[in-house]
Symmetry: C2
Subunit: 210 residues, 2 copies
DNA sequence: GTCATCATGTAAGCCGTTACATGATTGC
DNA sequence: GCAATCATGTAACGGCTTACATGATGAC
């Protein structure tokens, strides 16, 4: 889970742990909640496995995305040229490796479908191809249908004698149906090939609808 | 969390672990997910703390709580009936004690507001008084507002350059607003004194409004 | 007698948290 | 120089899961 988040973020830009955490907050908002106590060990684990690597600070901002207008990016770039393997503030700037990219693909594909995991995967949809995206969306849809059935089963079976439980289940059903409708829309848009910029976004940054 | 679930269910009927798990599924549906590996240790913990006690299988069918009161008393009673305390299939039928009821009240009041915890609390709303219910609802409302702000902050700050992230955040906002509206309705209904049967359901089963 | 189910438990492990420790750098 | 922040890490613990072990009971 946390590895998915790290790799997904690092695929976009080389960052050190501290910065990474900020990016997680500003990029995923309520979906992520990672503390340093789990972030750093995870980074070390990933480094040990060769999924990420410490990059020389000179390369730190050279590679990956342009980082247009990022305060941290420019500041880092300014101070960046002192040492090689560790930055000025003892920073360790990480970049994703090919192994890491493979791992990311693997993590995206694996069957874990809970609210948070799916949300995170969706946030990184740009990193995978359309078939994978469709697969994930359909699986999520199935999961939601299952949940809906389960909730309805509760109402049908019992528990409906209590108004609060009833209210809870009804709201749960509604929310789930809402989610299903949303996913269905995403599937439709995906099948229609709605925004083609997603499949090959390296071609052109045509951002948005006409 | 799991203790809340156990106590909330046991307040309604004396049950043994195996049965308890079934009730959790059929009473809370997707909200609960407890495995035996956590259920039994939790029951033992609660028993050690005097929050639940093994009841004689004779009383097992006698619903709700006869439970004399003092922990020492319960323990003595337990020792006295040592032979009867395990049912035919080696069952241990548990009942909630006064200590357990106090613990339940405490758990309901404590500040934990995530999706699942709140859902579980709501499912047990019948066990607490209106002020507590209102307090919980308002806290939840505040939490949701906070989440909404956070999500909007993400959209405003950045991340909106990716259509998937944007879709995710927009859906999150919508869902959260939906939840807020729902909670607001519950608050209104609570303040209006909608169903009075909930506050003192032991008095009279007067089902609903005239 | 044996198989499925009921019933209770233990052990190992995963995944995350909080709290703590340490040191570098900057601003004043 | 001193405080605030940046930056990395460790230790202890919490809560839950899976997998395993054990045994009673009833159906056939």
């Amino acid at each position: 889970m946390i590895e998915l988040a790290i790799l997904g973020i690092l695929k976009e830009a080389n960052l050190h742990g501290y910065e990474l955490k900020k990016h997680l907050r500003t990029a995923l908002g309520p979906l992520c909640s990672v503390s340093f106590g789990s972030l750093y060990p995870a980074l070390n684990r990933l480094e040990r496995d060769g999924a990420v690597a410490v990059v020389a600070v000179d390369e730190a901002n050279a590679v990956a995305t342009p980082m247009t207008g990022s305060f941290a990016g420019e500041a880092a770039a300014f101070r960046a040229r002192r040492r090689v393997t560790r930055g000025p503030r003892n920073k360790k700037v990480y970049g994703i490796t090919e192994v890491g990219e493979a791992r990311l693909t693997e993590l995206m594909a694996d069957p874990a479908d809970d609210e948070r995991t799916f949300g995170m995967k969706l946030a990184f949809f740009r990193w995978c191809d359309r078939p994978t995206r469709l697969h994930l969306l359909e699986r999520r849809c199935a999961t939601l249908h299952q949940r809906l059935d389960e909730t309805r089963g509760v109402v049908a079976a019992r528990g409906s004698d209590d108004p609060y439980v009833r209210a809870l289940m009804e709201h749960d059903s509604e929310s789930t149906m809402n989610d299903i409708a949303w996913i269905s829309r995403l599937i439709a848009s995906e099948e229609a090939g709605g925004d083609d910029t997603l499949d090959d976004r390296d071609k052109e940054p045509t951002g948005g609808h006409p």
